[in-house]
Symmetry: C2
Subunit: 265 residues, 2 copies
């Protein structure tokens, strides 16, 4: 069956076919965790992330920098993010994890920053404020948008897993809405955490939705368990792995350890 996919997804699919994997690497730099040999400064962070990209770009389908790990170093940190994004080869989409969402005219401003200034290919969004807080993102039709469904952290039990009046949990109602939005805009997917024992059933229950899947590696989720849920789903599973790849080596040069950590997933 031939499917007309959004250009972002088409690029991911091509990369999955070329690498034989569906790994996205989370670029979440922490100066405290830099391998020995890198300067403990923003210059060291930039140097380190370039090394990670240099040695992993032929093994991954996308990169997912989390903007917060750059913001943490102030405005200069955001300059590093700009340069890191520019350094990523153009065939590798940049999922800029930003978890945004506000009233409509404010969301429009957020989208401008992520897409027009920082040149992201995709982002992540908080669903709490509902549809009109998200449509200014969806209206960036060339971009892709992952709305939080069921996240990988313990706090997902507080609200996401709470039972609604119809007996189904909140996150299912959010996923239902994401299906509706994707039907309309064709550029909306969901974040569903790998640490959730429910992952397999959610993957089956929403077979057309594209998932960004965090939580593999340091957070405890297993890569193969997730990838085994891909077929026969139409929606893609993009598995993000962060710290266990990024900090695979404790010292420079890092290439061998980083590649090994991806290849052994």
């Amino acid at each position: 069956m031939s499917v007309d996919r959004h250009p972002f997804l088409q690029q991911i699919l091509t990369n999955i076919e070329n690498t034989g994997r569906q790994v996205c690497v989370g670029l979440d730099p922490d100066i405290e965790l830099l391998p020995a040999g890198y300067d403990r400064s923003l210059l060291g962070v930039e140097d380190f992330l370039r090394s990670v990209i240099d040695c992993s770009h032929d093994l991954v389908v996308a990169y997912k920098p989390n903007i917060s790990f750059f913001e943490a170093y102030g405005i200069d940190g955001l300059r590093v993010l700009e340069r890191v994004i520019a350094y990523i080869p153009s065939y590798l989409p940049v999922i800029l994890d930003a978890k945004r969402g506000d009233i409509g005219n404010t969301s429009r401003m957020q989208a401008r920053f992520l897409f027009d200034s920082l040149n992201a290919s995709a982002t992540t969004l908080h669903p709490y404020m509902g549809e009109d807080s998200l449509t200014p993102f969806f209206e960036y039709t060339s971009k892709f948008h992952f709305v939080l469904g069921l996240t990988s952290n313990p706090g997902s039990a507080d609200f996401e897993l709470m039972e609604m009046k119809d007996g189904r949990p909140l996150y299912c109602h959010v996923l239902d809405k994401i299906v509706t939005w994707n039907d309309r805009y064709h550029n909306v997917g969901a974040v569903v955490g790998a640490t959730q024992s429910l992952f397999k059933s959610i993957a089956c229950q929403y077979p057309t939705l594209d998932f960004l899947v965090p939580g593999v590696g340091s957070q405890g989720g297993g890569y193969t368990d997730i990838v085994d849920c891909q077929s026969p789903r139409l929606g893609l599973l993009i598995v993000n792995v962060g710290r266990s790849i990024l900090y695979a080596s404790q010292q420079k040069p890092i290439a061998e350890s980083v590649r090994k950590s991806i290849l052994s997933l």
Copy 2:
């Protein structure tokens, strides 16, 4: 009754007593909307916001810049935000509206940016990901944190107002949690929109919670309707007014119109 309030709230209360009002001005600059006479550039934005602060600082209890309206102009826009925050007199708390929230180690990075780099006094947070996504903020004990409860936009109907298993809407469960968090950390309040017909009953139902109240003015909420709900609540109501004050004048000089728009609320 004497109450031991958080320093942020104590300052707000002092400002309420001094001004006889509980107005917070939203600093959400939009180059397209700048009054005639201001350069349509980031320099013009900065000049404009300084004028707004100059003519309003003795009439308001706090300022609430929304970071998204600065980010929209890229990293240079954030430099303007830094300078605008530095320009605000120290007795006026800066509620940096950022609507953050992520997994724990990421939220820690977000908090560093808002509080350590940008020197905010308080911020706003998305509850969806639950407690461990918020505690890294609460642990900034000298800062104050407003978690979204019931927002002022139409999309609040999508999830916030949905009925849970016990027949109560989601936002009530979120407000219940906020009460618990505030009991533990003493620095957590809620965002409750002025446009909600439920506002009065929510204000009564949660009398100890401090509310940040957006939605007055251009969005349709009435200032006096909100302020009438203050007594005998212990928790403060901080009423944010944005566009209707900021763009009260269509041309420079703006002072008279801005002051009039605050005084006539």
